[in-house]
Symmetry: C2
Subunit: 96 residues, 2 copies
């Protein structure tokens, strides 16, 4: 299992736009991407502009296919354009 | 539900010490802390020194009690002493 934490700091005035498109990406990912265990968006309790994708994938192949998918390729650049600073993305394995 | 992501960058020569103590904290948390949905440690696939606690708590009260617990108060300062730089801790709510 691969866990992805993609922490995004969104421009203050773009939070709603980000959420609307991110919601679409979540829906399409859930519908279309096999090997997706979970794929959700979380908002920091103190900093509303920090919106983080926390994902679980069965394996690297499933994650690679997701990142090559039409819906990801279409929406990811748009989401990136709404950021205050570059996203912070970590791919993890569980150790404890 | 509250999701906590506590991203820690550990000194290269302290990774094993960190993991040993963190493992103890995970075990005690699982055993003793009610309201803990999940509490695990993940290692970045590219950067072995990045060790991140990803936790789920039923509510803020459960998280507060955890952070006031004997096992947390004993182990957290020790773990902090093994870090290369201050940890990055985000507490989240699920939005999508």
């Amino acid at each position: 299992m691969i866990k992805v934490v993609a922490k995004q700091t969104v421009k203050q005035d773009k939070i709603n736009s980000f959420l609307a498109s991110a919601k679409k990406l979540v829906e399409e990912t859930h519908q279309k991407d096999s090997g997706c265990i979970s794929y959700d968006i979380f908002q920091d309790l103190q900093h509303a502009e920090v919106l983080t994708f926390i994902e679980e994938w069965e394996n690297q192949d499933a994650l690679d296919k997701h990142m090559a998918s039409k819906h990801f390729k279409e929406l990811f650049p748009y989401l990136n354009g709404l950021l205050e600073k570059p996203g912070e993305i970590n791919c993890y394995k569980k150790v404890v």
